[in-house]
């Protein structure tokens, strides 16, 4: 993948620095023009920790100036996520409280629109936007593995093993999605559609990387995972029905079929075997688990709103 297009003054300077390797120490004093400028900059800096860019030197991954710059952007991002956070009213037994919290969240549903009314163009636009995460599906959560105590760590590895295909490359979820994209005649190349992605989608990506890359956010990382899984099976069924309604290729519907079944397992594992034992051992992380969960649901709602508004749906 090549570095994405800039979306403002800061990203122009940072992406330029990534391409030339000339990183001015004064970069840390440049403020983003707006949220789009900040999110694409953060996205590009995070991407260096995943697959990186063909036109940027891999040695820049840990460049102190870029890390300092990233830190400033993260601080503002976390402040925004915290200001939006609605904590649970009261937490009783963890699993019941968590499922109730996710169920009580009200947000617009892209999956319901796809199931009933979306046209092919809208669905393909959605797949392009989703591809930013789905082609690195599960990767951000993997960062959390070495930061967990034994029981949640073992359970997270069991879940991730399934995400990564349980030993079979053909069943790896990211590959599954790539095959679906290919069948829809979309470009399955990793990061191919970053320049088309709404800022809300970049923010969804960035929240996962933020939580995964910082040990202090391990609670939020697994809370995000649990909410993602708990809000997946039923919408995945709606997605599969919508894709078949539109006669889109079976390969992309099969991706969602797989998630109906897999995520019905994963939500139980994530809530009962990962988050519950983690907060039992580290009770101070309880709020972060819910912050991660809220962030997942809230950022998805923001993306859904933008897409549905654009489609006048």
């Amino acid at each position: 993948m090549l570095t994405p297009q800039a979306r403002g003054g800061l990203s122009a300077q940072v992406l330029g620095a990534l391409r030339t390797g000339d990183v001015a120490p004064t970069l840390t004093r440049v403020r983003p023009d707006d949220d789009a400028d900040a999110q694409i900059t953060l996205w590009a800096l995070y991407e260096q920790h995943y697959r990186g860019f063909d036109d940027a030197d891999a040695a820049l991954e840990w460049h102190p100036t870029l890390i300092a710059l990233r830190g400033g952007l993260e601080e503002a991002f976390v402040a925004d996520l915290r200001s939006r956070f609605v904590p649970p009213p009261a937490v009783g037994p963890f699993a019941e409280s968590f499922f109730a919290y996710v169920a009580a969240f009200e947000g617009p549903s892209v999956a319901t629109h796809v199931q009933r009314r979306a046209d092919r163009g809208q669905v393909l636009e959605l797949l392009r936007a989703r591809s930013l995460y789905q082609l690195k599906e599960a990767d951000p959560t993997t960062w959390a593995v070495p930061r967990l105590p034994a029981r949640p760590q073992v359970a997270l590895m069991a879940l991730q093993f399934d995400e990564y295909g349980a030993g079979d490359p053909a069943r790896q979820h990211a590959r599954f999605f790539a095959r679906g994209m290919e069948a829809c005649r979309l470009d399955p190349t990793y990061g191919a559609y970053v320049d088309d992605a709404p800022v809300e989608v970049l923010a969804q990506n960035n929240a996962m990387s933020l939580f995964g890359l910082h040990r202090r956010w391990r609670g939020a990382a697994v809370g995000h995972l649990a909410a993602f899984e708990a809000a997946s099976s039923l919408p995945s069924r709606q997605m599969a029905q919508g894709l078949r309604r539109l006669d889109l290729p079976e390969q992309i519907a099969a991706y969602y079929d797989e998630h109906v079944e897999a995520d019905a397992v994963h939500e139980q594992l994530a809530v009962r075997e990962i988050c519950a034992p983690l907060v039992e051992q580290e009770p101070a992380l309880l709020e972060d688990v819910f912050l991660g969960a809220f962030t997942c649901l809230d950022l998805e709602a923001r993306t859904a709103r933008v897409l549905l508004d654009a489609w006048a749906a």
Binding site: A95, E96, F99, A103, T112, Q115, R116, P149, A150, R151, V154, A158, F161, D162, A166, S233, L234, R237, Q238, Q241, R245, V260, E261, A262, D263, A264, V265, E267, Q268, L269, R272, E273
Partner: protein, 69 residues
């Protein structure tokens, strides 16, 4: 439970039964299905659309099932 105790079957309150490993599961009509993933979720509410596996339908009230088409 200690860190080293690992149940093979977990009954989830209000949800499915999780089973670890490779099993043959017979559904209500007698058809046998082999598990395909490291942990599988077997439906307990009787309303799953992908029986014998769980599809999350237990979370919906009986009157709140989404339209199936």
């Amino acid at each position: 439970m200690s860190d080293d105790e690992r149940p093979d079957v977990i009954v989830c309150a209000g949800g499915p039964i999780l089973v670890r490993g490779d099993h043959l599961v017979q559904d209500e009509s007698g058809v046998v299905h082999r598990t395909t993933r490291p942990v599988s979720a077997v439906c307990r509410c009787g309303r799953s659309g992908i029986s014998p596996w769980c599809d999350g339908t237990h979370k919906l009230g009986p009157k709140a099932r989404p339209a199936t088409s």
